[in-house]
Amino acid sequence: VCACVRESVCERERESVCECVREGVLFLSQSPEAACLSAEDISPSSNGPRDDDPDDLFAEATEEVSLDSPERQPILSDGPSPAITPVTPVMISPRVDDEDEEENRDTFDIQISVSDPEKVGDGMNAYMVYKVTTKTSLSIFSRDEVCVKRRFSDFLGLYSKLASKYMHMGYIVPPAPEKSIVGMTKVKVGKEDLSSVEFVEKRRSALERYLLRTVKHPALLKDPDVLQFLESSELPRAVSTQALSGAGILRMVNKAADAVNKMTIKMNESDAWFEEKQQQFENLDVQLRKLHASVESLVCHRKELSVNTASFAKSAAMLGNSEDHTALSRALSQLAEVEEKIDQLHQDQSYADFYLISELLGDYVRLITAVKGVFDQRMKAWAKWQDAQVMLQRKREAEAKLQYANKPDKLQQATDEIREWEGKVQQGERDFEQISKNIRREVGRFEKDRVKDFRVVIIKYLESLVHTQQQLIKYWEAFLPEAKAIA
């Protein structure tokens, strides 16, 4: 129900949307200043009602959003959440739906690979540079194949920008891979051992998955920062991503503040869908973590199995050497060879365990955190709206008092303030409904992707297990005649 009806100022009660607004009644008209609360207002167009615009927000405010609809909502932002990194003010104009639908129906034709890690510099100032190659036929890209060099902090910077732009609107922004001080220090110090090679490979793979997931999101794919990241040869260094920078510390403070707020906001959930989904994601979070932990344990034990098999192979070889019966000695040496091949098999399988399943689960654990974050954003939007209503009420009371006190100049100010806060209430409600709508769509997309990802990965994984078993059969069948030949 429209805010003006709720406040019992307007007598015209309509079914879903207040026609006062549609007809441009002054009551809820807004000036650009009232709508923009920060310097980072993005939309050049006004927030006022537009009859002929199919994207009339009010028209759709109470419609049931189907999860399959490819509708695009104009990306309007009012008052972004406290973003520390200076975001280049980008003009995003509301797009027409048709264009977006067409691009959606195109096959998702973009391939991104992250490769060729190279160490630059040395000592503690060293860093790794990765080659990012984008191959695509999509028109938003300037060329169909681009190669750029990026370092880890560039990826973090990209995420930071996207999060500050989209998260408060309810978009699930894929999180970037985590920092690792220990891992990186080893690489910096120049140890060319297996663990640093593995670390770099793990990170390279994670960065690749991160980019693919980011561009899979239809809105993020078109984001100028993403395009710039993928295409431009020079990228301004994202300094504020460092953990110990001023920006980093501010980020931590804000995170803490958010956590406190979350506990104090007691939201009146009127929408059962949100309550259900939130509970579902809480449960899924716990269960995925458990599954992830079990898979990590499998990776570890499989590596151990490989090591122990190799160790047994050596021991069997020594035993074969010591054995004085010729045929048995030969068979034992061959057993040692078989076990050596098998230990390599186990090692390969453990890589499959890790890269196919464990890392994917890790990604999803972090994604779920992002999803939960988006629900929190909705709560914040709701709280803001409620706060605005409280303020409005106070202003109205103040005005009423002033009316009795008969102070005409102060009265005008009061009336102005009322108008200002009415606008804020209206904006708050709009934002709340917008974010709710976005979240419904995002969650739908997330769940579809999750199911698809899992199905694909589990098949790949089972196929890797099949391959291992096939090799085992081969090796043992080759050994059997050797065992039988002992005479």
């Binding site: 579902q280 449960n283 899924l284 269960q287 995925l288 458990k290 599954l291 079990s294 898979v295 344990s297 499998l298 034990h301 499989r302 151990e304 199995l305 122990n308 098999t309 160790s311 047994f312 050596k314 021991s315 069997a316 020594m318 035993l319 050497n321 010591s322 054995e323 004085d324 019966h325 045929a327 048995l328 068979a331 034992l332 057993l335 199911v451 899992f454 199905r455 589990i458 098949i459 089972l462 196929e463 297990l465 099949v466 078993q469 096939q470 085992l472 059969i473 043992w476 069948e477 050994f479 059997l480 065992a483 039988k484 002992i486 005479a487």
Partner: protein
């Protein structure tokens, strides 16, 4: 040699060694065993055509401690110094299952019904595996004795088999046990003796070099095989947890995806069973084989030690005789002593040679049999895994 193992392949023989029941005149097996708390009671079943026994077919219950008593009496019998004495079976070790049972009891309240039932099943399987192992090893010990021309006639062996009451009275008391410990300590010092003594006989020289080296290598191989088996079991455990975690995610889903997840959970559960089977078969055929022969090699080394001891005694007796001749006193006594030592040494050398030769033959056949069986089982399990996985992939793809 090959014919023996072929026969044993057809029969259902569980021994790690060669088929030791090929002589129908005295057939021993352990068809049953009962586990009561700390004690395991084995039911020994004997079938014999020998007149030295009162009945031709009978059974008798025996405890592990009875086996140890029998082994020790045989070791202490001077007459058998020239023989490889079958190693004593190790004490039944139910520590693993017992720990699990404890955990099960403690965690009963915090587990779901399915988890509890599953854990109980696992526990029973582990229990059964330990059980099978210990029965096998006790059985082989008796069969080694029954198939050896000298041991089978041993009086104490007959008592062990026939005495229809508890053998506790005849078992070692604490004092004797300490004597055993002491003897073992002295023995290890005497390993130096074995390597130190100048060997005249080429055969024994070779055997000495071989046994000393082989003994350390097989001990190492046993330890590494044990670690490998344990890793397999850990992997199986992980499959179990993964299956459980998938099931709990599936429980929350209400879509077609739920069926998909449940199917995946099922696959992991089956994989776990297969991996468990691989681990236990590997343990039974490979690790147990190595364990057994580590003990047998030690028994062979003991034979060498006794012979080396006898040689040292003979050399000492020579010195004593020379001294007596010089002094002109107790010459006859010294001569007699020397003759005895020589006789003993010769006897040990002669039977030792026979024993060590047949030991090698026995070892080769046992390794062959177990390596073949292990390989065939590995192939079988891998094929089963493959068909399980391929079938599941098909089902999941068609969903």
């Amino acid at each position: 040699m090959t014919s023996i193992s072929e026969d044993s392949d057809k029969e259902k023989v569980r021994s790690v060694s060669v088929d030791l029941n090929n002589d129908a005149s005295l057939v021993i097996d352990i068809p049953d065993a009962l586990c009561e708390r700390d004690k395991v009671k084995f039911t020994i079943h004997i079938k014999t055509t020998l007149s030295s026994f009162q009945k031709s077919e009978f059974s008798v219950p025996r405890q592990h401690e009875d086996f140890i008593w029998l082994h020790d009496t045989i070791v202490e019998t001077e007459e058998y110094a020239g023989l490889i004495i079958p190693p004593a079976p190790p004490k039944p070790d139910f520590e693993g299952p017992r720990e699990k049972m404890h955990k099960l009891g403690e965690g009963e309240s915090s587990m779901t019904k399915e988890e509890y039932a599953k854990m109980k099943q696992e526990l029973e399987a582990e229990y059964l595996a330990v059980f099978k192992k210990t029965v096998q090893v006790h059985e082989v010990f008796l069969q080694r004795l029954s198939s050896h021309p000298m041991f089978r006639k041993d009086r104490n062996f007959q008592i062990f088999l026939e005495y229809d009451q508890d053998l506790t009275v005849r078992r070692k008391n604490a004092k004797e046990m300490f004597g055993g410990f002491f003897k073992n300590m002295v023995k290890s010092a005497d390993e130096v003796l074995i390597s130190g003594v100048k060997e005249v006989d080429e055969f024994f020289e070779q055997e000495k070099i071989f046994l000393l080296d082989y003994s350390s290598k097989i001990k190492d191989a046993t330890a590494k095989a044990e670690k490998m088996t344990r890793s397999h079991k850990n992997v199986a455990d992980d499959y179990n947890h993964i299956s459980g975690a998938m099931n709990s995610i599936a429980a929350d889903n209400n879509t077609a995806f739920k069926k998909h997840l449940e199917k995946c959970a099922e696959v992991f559960e089956k994989l776990r069973k297969l991996e468990d089977r691989v681990a236990s078969d590997q343990e039974l055929k490979l690790t147990e084989l190595l364990r057994y022969y580590t003990r047998d090699i030690q028994a062979a080394k003991d034979l060498l030690y006794r012979r080396a001891r006898a040689l040292a005694d003979y050399e000492n007796s020579n010195k004593t005789l020379d001294k007596a001749r010089l002094k002109g006193k107790d010459i006859a006594q010294a001569e007699e002593n020397q003759k005895q030592c020589l006789r003993k040494f010769d006897k040990l050398s002669e039977s030792g040679k026979k024993e060590l030769t047949s030991f090698k033959a026995r070892r080769v056949v046992a390794f062959r049999k177990n390596l073949i069986e292990m390989t065939e089982l590995e192939i079988k399990h891998a094929k089963n895994s493959m068909s399980l996985l391929q079938g599941s992939i098909e089902i999941l793809n068609s969903n």
